[in-house]
């Protein structure tokens, strides 16, 4: 995207002026915040800092008149061009601030002055006034406490207060008197009750006298009020001790001092800007939150949390214990908000802010945890996006979400382009520019922080965009790039994937706004690259345990070098290092081969020269960085022949040594893992739920990047395990080492008989079992069969321990089950899938160990043993294994039932039971349009399309004898990416075959395009056509076995009639 450069240029020039003005204001604030200086000293310094804030500082002079003093520079000369503002303290003009030019300057908004300069001078006068007021009050208080100290035993102490208030603030005194009476009457003091009543009645009586409306009631009030005050304090002195009265009065005075904040927050109409101003005022009022009454404290906190972060009650309930008013101070300067803002900062910001405050404040957080940092962040409030849309008159997009998903998908690229070429509201552009000034040339990440993200249960992670920026170059370039990124992230809220996701979860009608976080990227510069030493994600609960010694609460860390993107997402060709923080020394990978295979091979970094996010080869990165990689000794290990060694001695030349990111030193020699464990434990305890955090480590400091409940992370949600299932329907159950998840539609069970396998006479037979399983893996419907076998699947050493298979021989299974049978008094260890553990994790293949000898669990051996096995029909060449290896076609054996496995790690329970399959009746009407969002539409649509192709295929023209459907479309398991597998029985000529393939190719491409519009998945054609001949059928070779097959047979579709 190229942006109109002049627009940026104008903005920047204006911004330079604003920056000067802000700078001036900062300096004024700085001076006012120095209690060690007298007012006169402050003013004297101030006349020096004012001129640089004006347009022509060189000829500018400033003067402050206060009470009877005139503070001006020695060379002050009366000038004709003056801008001045009064200093008004407690409603009275106490002085003025003046700025003037000694010589004539070009004409502008107000003489030679800008309108912004008018605002500036008024703000400065206002701040001075506030400050004077504060000083006065402070002096008064000091007088008060001196009096209190001096008169500690003197009876008339509260009278000093009374007198003081009568003179300085009668309104306040009146409110305090009221509170005192209330206080006394709640305390059961009869006199006070009467006083309260009398006062109320009197008022009522006054109002009730007819015809007396014109009587001037007010005149009477001061006298009554004085009485009331005197009376109240008189009663109080009889019932309360001196110190009690004094402490009540002090608290109330302080509360009164921040009542403006309460009022501001209570009024829903106040904009965020006003709230922020009120907080700033409160900050300068020097009131400690702890000096306020508890109810006021709570009220303030809750209102602020609600205003800035979230209306979510659960969140507020926890947050109010940790987030104080003063915590907002450093947030305020970094919020970019539109005028009249009512937006929030969004879910991600809220989660992170709260987590940080918990770490800072929880008493159990130790020093190490207290050092956890959060990267410098600027926040863009959620309503900016609407503002942006209005500004560019793009209101149409707000209703995009109700369009058909394929339409959204088709239009989306144009929308992104449109957003990127839209202009930014100038306030937003200014805000972004300010942010860039503060953040400097550090690489940045623009992260979405939407309102929906804090709704329980909806895992929006990754649905909206997060963009990395190199943030290198001139200010203009950097600002343009940042604006570009913001526009793109904004567009992503209207993208097809989030829209579809929301539709599926009934969240379409929820009002969604997106806040943004502009965050500096954690890391260090190493040559041309910028990267954190390592990053990752950590979970309170470990759902993928690789050893029986690891418990669920031991947690899980996925750690990668460089940016954490590769740890957050599962990338199928690379692996993060897995650590269970509760058992950091039990590794998934033990042998050199395992460590090498499952180590991170690529690293995400920011290339400062290219000014872009990049993925680089980990070895090349190490060779490039060498010893400059932060904490290199703790991060890599050398492969020394048959073992993995930590770096000891000089850092070797990585060009000549085999080296691997193992994090071994980090795990063993630093408190890194212990800190993550403490962090997880603390956050889980305080938030009351297992958490999922993202973090980064730059080699020195540990940064928290995100914190949310683990249940938001989608993948592994505990499912309800039905309790009263009829015993005859349960095939097996488990109560140990259960993870979360469900495997709902199992049609085939591959069962390796425990006894049969151990009785096999030689290793060749055992290897045959492995090979047969590998063949079944290709033959059975993908993710619809489970493997049940003895001991350790994938055993490579002593294969008596378990069926020798490689990952590629089981990669289509839905689930891997290992059975540990008692032998004598010895219970064999299970592998927990060790041999391909990380492959299972990344592919979400479930693992479950079974202990059938436990009387608490079920294991229906007779079903597994006596159901008819279809092995011989499927793989006649492995018929000799029929005593050991059994394949059960569940629907066939049970009259149409399927097997469901439900697993709940919270309860440590799993059950597999027979149940009717999902309903698959009914025909949706449209072919492209309406998509039912149950997940069924993919196969249904494909099925209809296959029927249509068959119906239009002229069998004589193309020489086709029969048309079959096989694979996922036939099995009703097709997903958005699936092919349509067709099996065509040919008996025509080569020419006919060519013609046919051409004809089908046309269909294939068309369907692929339609599928893309429906689902967003790009495929190279959607049809997968298999051709067979009479010879194949006779020999039952190739796909011909599918025709009239015993299990999973091909389905014949009618073709066009001649």
């Amino acid at each position: 995207m190229t942006r109109d450069e002049t627009q940026v240029g104008v903005i920047l020039r204006e911004l330079q002026e604003r920056a000067k003005e802000l700078n001036c204001l900062y300096k004024v604030d700085e001076l006012l915040n120095r209690p060690d200086l007298s007012l006169e000293e402050i003013f004297l310094a101030m006349i020096g800092v004012l001129p640089p804030g004006w347009q022509y500082p060189h000829d500018c002079q400033a003067r402050i008149v206060f009470e009877d003093q005139v503070i001006q520079p020695p060379d002050f000369a009366p000038a004709p061009f003056v801008q001045s503002a009064n200093i008004v303290v407690q409603g009275e003009v106490a002085g003025s601030v003046e700025v003037s030019y000694r010589v004539q300057m070009p004409k502008s908004d107000e003489g030679p002055f800008l309108k912004e300069e008018r605002k500036l001078i008024e703000t400065i006068a206002d701040r001075i006034a506030n400050h004077v007021m504060q000083r006065r009050l402070k002096t008064a208080f000091e007088g008060l406490s001196a009096a209190a100290d001096g008169l500690a035993s003197d009876k008339g102490e509260w009278r000093v207060v009374l007198e003081f208030l009568r003179d300085t603030d009668p309104v306040l005194l009146r409110r305090i008197s009221r509170k005192l009476i209330n206080h006394l009457s709640w305390g059961g003091v009869q006199e006070a009750k009467e006083l309260l009543q009398r006062d109320g009645v009197a008022t009522l009586a006054d109002a009730a006298i007819p015809g007396d409306e014109n009587r001037p009631l007010r005149r009477d009030v001061p006298a009554r009020f004085v009485d009331l005050t005197t009376e109240a304090f008189r009663i109080a002195s009889q019932h309360l001790s001196e110190s009690e009265i004094l402490s009540c009065v002090t608290t109330w005075i302080k509360e009164e001092k921040c009542s403006f904040l309460v009022r501001c927050l209570e009024n829903l109409a106040t904009s965020l800007g006003e709230v922020i101003e009120a907080i700033e005022r409160y900050q300068h009022s020097a009131v400690e939150e702890s000096e306020l009454s508890l109810s006021t404290q709570k009220g303030l906190r809750v209102s602020l949390i609600r205003r800035f972060f979230s209306e979510n009650l659960e969140f507020i309930n926890i947050a109010k214990n940790f987030i104080e008013v003063k915590d907002f101070y450093d947030l305020l300067g970094r919020i970019i908000f539109p005028p009249d803002c009512h937006g929030k900062l969004g879910g991600k910001s809220a989660g992170l802010f709260l987590a940080k405050k918990i770490i800072e404040k929880a008493p159990e957080a130790n020093g190490q945890l207290r050092q956890v940092k959060v990267p410098r962040t600027w926040y863009i409030t959620s309503d900016w996006i609407l503002n942006f849309v209005h500004h560019n008159e793009l209101e149409d997009v707000l209703n995009w979400k109700y369009m058909e998903i394929d339409q959204v998908r088709q239009e989306y690229p144009h929308l992104v382009a449109l957003f990127k070429s839209s202009s930014f509201p100038s306030e937003l552009a200014k805000g972004l520019s300010l942010a860039l000034d503060e953040l400097g040339e550090r690489p940045l990440i623009v992260r979405s922080s939407s309102l929906l993200e804090d709704r329980a249960g909806s895992a929006f992670s990754g649905k909206y965009k997060s963009l990395f920026l190199g943030n290198q170059g001139t200010k203009e370039e950097r600002l343009a790039a940042l604006m570009d990124a913001v526009a793109e992230v904004y567009a992503s809220i209207f993208g097809p994937d989030p829209t579809e996701y929301r539709a599926e979860r009934g969240l379409l009608d929820v009002h969604e706004e997106m806040g943004l976080m502009i965050q500096e990227v954690v890391g260090q510069k190493v040559g041309k690259y910028f990267l954190p030493a390592c990053s990752g994600v950590a979970f309170s609960n470990n759902e993928f345990r690789w050893s029986a010694r690891i418990s669920r609460g031991d947690g899980l860390v996925r750690l990668v070098p460089g940016l954490g993107t590769r740890a957050v997402d599962r990338v199928n060709d690379d692996y993060p290092v897995l650590i269970a923080p509760g058992q950091p020394n039990l590794r998934v990978n033990v042998t050199v081969e395992e460590v090498l295979k499952y180590s991170p091979k690529r690293v995400d970094v920011i290339n400062l020269e290219a000014n872009a996010f990049e993925t680089v080869d980990s070895l090349e990165l190490l060779r490039y960085c060498g010893a400059n990689y932060p904490q290199i000794r703790h991060f890599v290990s050398i492969i020394e022949h048959d073992r993995i060694e930590q770096l000891v001695g000089p850092v070797p030349d990585f060009g000549t040594r085999d080296v691997v990111f193992s994090f071994e030193g980090l795990i063993q020699k630093t408190p890194f893992v212990a800190r993550i464990r403490e962090l997880l434990t603390l956050l889980q305890a305080k938030l009351g739920t297992p958490v999922d955090i993202e973090f980064a480590y730059d080699g020195e400091d540990f940064y928290l990047l995100q914190c949310r409940p683990q249940s938001y992370s989608g993948d592994a949600v505990p499912v309800a395990v039905p309790q009263n299932l009829p015993a005859d329907k349960v095939i097996f159950s488990a109560n140990r080492f259960v993870s979360n998840g469900k495997v709902p539609e199992i049609t085939h069970i591959v069962y390796v008989d425990l006894e049969g396998y151990s009785q096999l006479s030689d290793q060749a037979a055992m290897r045959d079992v492995g090979r047969a399983v590998g063949r079944l893996n290709k033959l059975l419907p993908k993710r619809q069969f489970i493997l049940i076998g003895p001991g350790r699947w994938g055993s490579r050493g002593d294969i008596k321990l378990g069926v020798p298979v490689t990952y590629s021989e089981i990669n289509n299974a839905a689930m891997l089950i290992e059975v540990a049978r008692q032998r004598g008094n010895y219970l064999p260890d299970l592998s927990f899938g060790t041999h391909f553990f990380q492959d299972l994790v990344e592919a979400s293949i479930r693992y479950l160990p079974l202990y059938p000898d436990d009387p608490q669990t079920a294991f229906k051996e007779e079903f597994l043993h006596h159901s008819r096995s279809v092995l011989e029909e499927l793989l006649p060449e492995f018929a000799h294994l029929s005593d050991t290896l059994r394949v059960i076609d569940v629907p066939k054996e049970t009259g149409g039932l399927i097997l469901r496995v439900l697993m709940n790690a919270e309860l440590d329970q799993a059950v597999a039971y027979l149940s009717p399959p999902r309903q698959r009746e009914g025909q949706p009407e449209s072919d492209v349009g309406v998509i039912d969002r149950t997940g069924e539409e993919h196969w249904r649509w494909r099925f209809r399309m296959a029927q249509r192709i068959a119906a239009q295929l002229d069998p004589h023209l193309f020489g086709v004898k029969a048309f079959y459907l096989i694979g996922s479309t036939k099995n009703a398991t097709a997903g958005p990416e699936s092919d349509i597998d067709l099996l065509l029985h040919l008996q025509g000529t080569e020419d006919q075959k060519r013609e046919l393939l051409l004809w089908l190719e046309g269909w294939s491409r068309c369907l692929s395009e339609i599928n893309f519009l429906r689902t967003g998945y790009r495929t190279e054609g959607l049809l997968d056509v298999h051709l067979i001949t009479d010879v194949d059928i006779a020999q039952r070779s190739s796909y011909a076995v599918k025709i009239d097959a015993i299990t999973d047979p091909a389905r014949k579709l009618p073709m066009k009639e001649a």
Partner: protein, 454 residues
């Protein structure tokens, strides 16, 4: 006596993965027991050699076995007791030699079988070492490194009096590596108060390890191959070869073979991404350094880059079908089977088994019938154990040779071993495999006899 006596290699299972009988099993009678299989194999050779009953009785069983408990304080403070073994099958020809295995379902019979195999393995290359094996029932996947260290130290404390550089020399094995060996060595030296680097082999270079170990197995294969070619009167520069596998053994075998003047035209390897193997072919001969530059740590060749460099990409099995004089299976067991043996080109003269057990017995028979010279695995890949012996020798005298010296001595050992086997095979019309076993067992039997044990 011209009949085949040992039609099948001995199956010891596990890490050595020798070849395995592959016929369809009848109704299983009992679970197989690798020790019984090893004894049966021995019995057949003993019969052929006409060993007396006492010798047979002695060699059918280990001389000594140690079974012991290793209590270990675990990281969580609890104590767990592990079971450890050391089996010394025979030390008539020299100190026992054999690995220490960590395995969750280790059995004493597996260890016995493996120790017997070590005895034969050392004898066939005529190095003065006997056979032993040890292990601990444990799964390192369930143990922290500290716990593993305690197991290692505990193991040696139990047998410190019964092992040593002059009695029994351990080495790394399944799920143990040089790290474990250094812990064991250190504990042994603490107990005995001295430095005994000769107690362990498989140590890192600089900690008593030998140079040349990386090359040893691959070079050893080619040393025997070179001798075989000489016997057949074929000049290496007139030959071509096809290699299965591209790991350590294959890489060094190719390097030396090409230095001898031969031309490797095809090499196959496993492709991690596609989960299948491919054969890469260049009829003009592969450029080893070029291919190495596009190969990962596991011997996986980058498919795309290979294509770009002009290599033909063929199915994994194609390595076997090439029109070459020499086949070197150097990947894994059971690769040449009854199903594919007839695909071997008529041009093939020699098969050198770089891997353990790449040929099934069924294929073995056909290869023999076709008159192809097969150099059996436990001779062809004995370069590894020979180099371990050199490591022990160097450690004992605390003087370490240059690599050339190690490899020169290796050449000598392999060559004479080959000659002995080949000579017997010719003279007795035995297959090379049978001859190798006969020589090995014969040498051990003679040592026992000479010592007056039997």
């Amino acid at each position: 006596m011209a009949q085949s006596v040992v039609s099948e290699p001995i199956d010891m299972g596990t890490e050595v993965r020798p070849s395995v009988p592959g016929q369809a099993p009848k109704k299983p009678t009992k679970a197989f027991n690798s020790f019984q299989i090893a004894q049966t194999q021995f019995d057949k050779v003993a019969e052929y050699l006409g060993l007396d009953p006492a010798t047979r009785d002695l060699l059918r069983y280990p001389l000594r076995e140690f079974h012991f408990a290793i209590p270990v304080r675990m990281d969580d403070g609890s104590v767990k007791v592990f079971r450890g073994f050391r089996v010394q099958h025979n030390d008539a020809r020299g100190p026992g030699k054999g690995g220490i295995r960590f395995h969750p379902q280790e059995t004493i019979d597996t260890v016995r079988a493996l120790s017997m195999w070590m005895t034969w393995k050392c004898a066939v290359v005529d190095i003065p070492l006997g056979g032993a094996k040890g292990g601990v029932i444990c799964d390192p996947h369930n143990l922290s490194l500290r716990e593993q260290e305690q197991i290692c130290r505990g193991w040696v404390r139990q047998v410190a009096r019964n092992v040593g550089p002059l009695t029994d020399v351990p080495a790394p094995d399944v799920m143990t590596n040089s790290q474990h060996m250094l812990w064991i060595l250190d504990e042994f030296e603490q107990i005995h108060g001295g430095r005994y680097p000769g107690f362990i082999t498989g140590k890192p270079v600089g900690m008593g390890g030998s140079l040349g170990r990386t090359e040893a197995t691959g070079y050893g294969v080619v040393f025997t191959l070179r001798e075989a070619l000489k016997e057949l009167g074929i000049r290496p520069e007139d030959t071509t070869a096809s290699v299965q596998g591209f790991g350590n053994v294959a890489q060094y075998a190719i390097e030396l073979y090409q230095r001898l003047g031969g031309r490797v035209i095809a090499v196959s390897c496993w492709d991690q991404a596609d989960q299948c193997s491919y054969t890469y072919r260049k009829l003009a001969g592969i450029d080893l350094n070029q291919i190495l530059s596009i190969t990962d740590h596991f011997g996986g060749i980058n498919k795309q880059k290979a294509k770009d460099l002009g290599y033909e990409l063929l199915p994994g099995e194609a390595w076997l079908e090439q029109d070459v004089e020499i086949l070197i299976p150097a990947a894994m067991e059971n690769q040449i089977t009854g199903d594919n043996v007839d695909k071997i080109s008529p041009r093939v003269r020699i098969i050198a088994e770089g891997a353990n057990g790449p040929t099934t017995p069924e294929a073995d028979t056909q290869i023999k019938e076709r008159g192809i010279l097969l150099i059996p695995d436990f001779l062809a890949n004995a370069g590894g154990v020979t180099c371990s012996y050199f490591e022990q020798v160097q450690s004992n005298m605390n003087y370490f040779w240059e690599k050339d010296e190690v490899l020169g001595k290796l050449d000598l050992k392999m060559t004479s071993a080959y000659f002995a086997v080949s000579e017997l095979s010719r003279r007795e019309k035995l297959s090379m495999r049978d001859a190798a076993y006969a020589i090995a067992i014969g040498r051990v039997a003679k040592a026992c006899h000479d010592r007056g044990w039997v």
